[in-house]
């Protein structure tokens, strides 16, 4: 894939990771409360918390290979295009958003 054909991939990958994190955190939070995971302790953490932190870290980790691939790809040459740097900015925004949506699951009360 050259920089031209890989553009759609790099422009969407970050927020695909984010959306997967969002759906899976939401699902895990609901399923965990339904199954009573918040009451099962695994060391200092509840099973519920552990699952949420696990789902979150897997998605955060997925940004590492994406970032490395972005760096290897470089920029597509045409510096006049406003879209040239879009993959970098979009991936950065997606990473920040993925950090943001995981925080409540890590610190707040899991079940009402």
């Amino acid at each position: 894939m050259n920089a031209q054909t890989s553009f759609p991939v790099f422009v969407t990958a970050g927020f695909l990771i984010w959306s997967s994190a969002f759906v899976m955190l939401y699902a895990a939070a609901s399923a965990g409360c339904a199954f009573g995971w918040q009451m099962e302790m695994v060391g200092p953490l509840s099973l519920q918390r552990l699952v949420l932190l696990g789902v979150w870290s897997v998605h955060l980790a997925a940004f590492v290979p994406l970032g490395l691939a972005l760096r290897r790809r470089g920029s597509p040459g045409d510096r006049r295009s406003v879209f040239a740097d879009a993959p970098f900015w979009i991936t950065g925004a997606a990473f920040a958003a993925t950090v943001f949506i995981g925080v409540p699951g890590a610190v707040l009360t899991a079940c009402a």
């Binding site: 339904a34 943001f100 409540p104 707040l108 009360t109 009402a112």
Partner: protein, 217 residues
């Protein structure tokens, strides 16, 4: 003046979140006022900018595009919304019933199309009326027999979904004896608007007659 009076008339009444009667509802009302004040300040700022653009366009010509796009377009809303969501989440945290709380009364609320029924944890249910002791925390275990409903007593607390097959617990405190009105807050079919209920907070001394059980200490 008449317009303002008309607008404010919507803020009173037995189902008003802006007339809170307990600590939970008060913190929700506070969020509302904080957001209203913040929105008013931001609106004023935007209108001033707009007025400047109309009245003396040259004044803003020197402001670089970066200030508009990165500063006011990205940083400003991010900071504002992050502050608001943090404040809201921390408030929500304080509204959640702690299962370990002592000296609490537990009741259940069971919704179905189209009525609410209330009673002690293992006792019979009564339609349309929940009796609680005034001045004591009450954990309401909310569930549903059919579709999703939502338990809402605006002057006492926020909403809690009533979900079939699942029990959600909401904590309410009515500081003084009185009648507090409630409604279903999740559309649940044609009779959705016709399932109102009341929470009657009574002097704790008169409670045994109402058949309420104490939670284990």
């Amino acid at each position: 003046m008449a317009g303002a009076g008309l607008l404010l008339a919507g803020c009173g009444g037995p189902l008003s979140t802006l007339d809170p009667a307990g600590p939970s509802a008060a913190s929700i009302a506070r969020i509302w006022w904080v957001m209203l004040a913040g929105a008013a300040v931001i609106l004023a700022f935007v209108l001033v900018l707009l007025a400047v653009v109309f009245l003396s366009p040259d004044r803003l010509r020197g402001v670089p595009g970066r200030v508009w796009i990165v500063g006011l377009g990205l940083a400003f809303p991010l900071v504002t919304l992050t502050a608001l969501v943090t404040y809201a989440l921390l408030t929500g945290e304080r509204l959640i019933a702690d299962p370990a709380e002592r000296d609490v009364v537990t009741v259940r609320a069971v919704a179905r199309q189209w009525e609410w029924r209330f009673g002690p944890p293992d006792g019979p249910l009564t339609a349309g009326r929940l009796v609680i002791p005034a001045g004591r925390p009450v954990h309401v275990a909310v569930t549903s027999e059919d579709v999703i409903h939502s338990f809402w007593v605006p002057r006492l607390a926020g909403k809690m979904d009533a979900i079939p097959g699942h029990v959600n617990v909401i904590r309410i405190v009515a500081p003084a004896p009185g009648v507090y009105h409630g409604a279903c807050a999740e559309f649940c079919g044609l009779g959705h608007a016709a399932m109102p209920f009341v929470v009657e907070a009574v002097d704790p001394a008169g409670l045994n007659a109402a058949g309420l059980t104490e939670a284990r200490p």
